[in-house]
């Protein structure tokens, strides 16, 4: 069974514990694919360049990054450049033969580019053009499987390869959690999303209300109600992973000794495929069975 692990990202998440754990998993013959985020590092590098990140608000009130051409350049420098290379270096120092890939390599992650976005700016509804972001629509599972079969551990970073309406390709920004989800679905793998909280809490401020697992749509409803702020995005990504074919999704803390093995053994909040609403025909079978 393959395990896809999402580490790092916007929250300061200490990867050291995770990397040693990857080493022991790989040594035990487990296939592991690592993915990482890094939007905080992008903002830091923009600041070092004396530039401001651009955030916009949609009519619906969602605030997100507007990735103009300059930001996209910095994105390529930070994610597939610095962070990915550092992670590959650290993994080699743990005895793991890591291979860094971005979504553009071998069309690993492809999807339509969204070059315009609706925003609310000084009270006016507007369309802001020149955005470089996209939705992941396909995963080149073959490239990952070939790399794994070669004895390597893939370390995947966004950007993805965005398809233009004109038919051309442009590297574009995409959400790292959803990239991990797409990969886990394509490989029918267990997905472990490491972050800086121990799981999904019914009361976000009270760790003791951590939900251990959810295996039915009803249990999943409690999870979606509980998820707030950045956790909402992770739950959405988890759902996409399961819809894509992932065997399970666990949200757990990175700040533990063996964070991945512990997550696979039940630490954190585990979501099973059973949480998905059975589609049409399955539904009738299920209702008939009741």
């Amino acid at each position: 069974m393959t395990t896809v692990v999402k580490i790092g990202g916007a929250r300061a998440v200490d990867p050291d514990g995770a990397l040693a754990d990857v080493a022991s998993l790989v040594e035990d013959g487990e296939d592991v694919v690592l993915t990482h985020g890094g939007s905080t590092a992008v903002d830091e590098t923009l600041a070092e360049l004396g530039e401001e990140p651009t955030y916009v608000e949609t009519p619906g009130g969602v605030v997100g990054r507007f990735t103009d051409e300059r930001t996209m350049d910095v994105f390529k420098m930070v994610m597939p450049g610095k962070l990915n290379t550092d992670l590959v270096e650290s993994l080699h120092n743990e005895g793991v033969d890591a291979v860094g890939l971005s979504g553009t390599d071998g069309k690993l992650l492809c999807g339509k580019r969204k070059s315009a976005v609706r925003v609310k700016e000084d009270g006016k509804k507007k369309i802001k053009r020149g955005d470089h972001s996209g939705t992941i629509e396909s995963v080149n599972a073959d490239l990952l499987e070939t790399t794994l079969a070669g004895g390597y551990t893939p370390v995947v970073s966004v950007p993805i390869l965005g398809t233009e309406q004109s038919g051309g390709y442009t590297a574009v920004n995409a959400d790292a959690d959803r990239a991990a989800a797409a990969i886990a679905g394509a490989l029918e793998a267990d997905l472990v999303v490491l972050t800086d909280v121990t799981g999904i809490y019914e009361d976000p401020d009270d760790e003791s209300t951590k939900i251990d697992s959810a295996a039915t749509p009803e249990e999943f409803a409690a999870v979606t109600d509980a998820a707030e702020g950045f956790m909402t995005k992770k739950v959405m990504a988890a759902e996409e992973a399961l819809e894509g074919g992932a065997a399970s999704v666990t949200v757990a803390t990175a700040n533990a000794d063996d964070p991945i093995s512990s997550a696979l053994a039940g630490a954190g909040t585990t979501l099973e495929p059973g949480v998905l609403e059975p589609d049409g025909d399955e539904k009738t079978e299920q209702e008939a069975a009741e």
Partner: protein, 54 residues
């Protein structure tokens, strides 16, 4: 003033018109994007799925 590209009705335009602004046609309710301001040119505003990266 200009015409709505969907229903042809008159669409009133305020002074500080900006490229990229969305104007609603008060007659047919269509959303129109300002693609130029001198002279003002409006086009049907595209449907846009929200999609955020890192």
């Amino acid at each position: 003033m200009t015409e709505c590209v969907e229903c042809g009705a008159e669409v009133s335009l305020h002074d500080d018109l900006e490229v990229g602004e969305i104007i609603d046609c008060t007659t047919c309710g269509a959303e129109l994007e300002v693609v130029d301001t001198e002279p003002p040119v409006l086009e049907r505003a595209p449907e846009l799925e929200e999609d955020w990266g890192e």
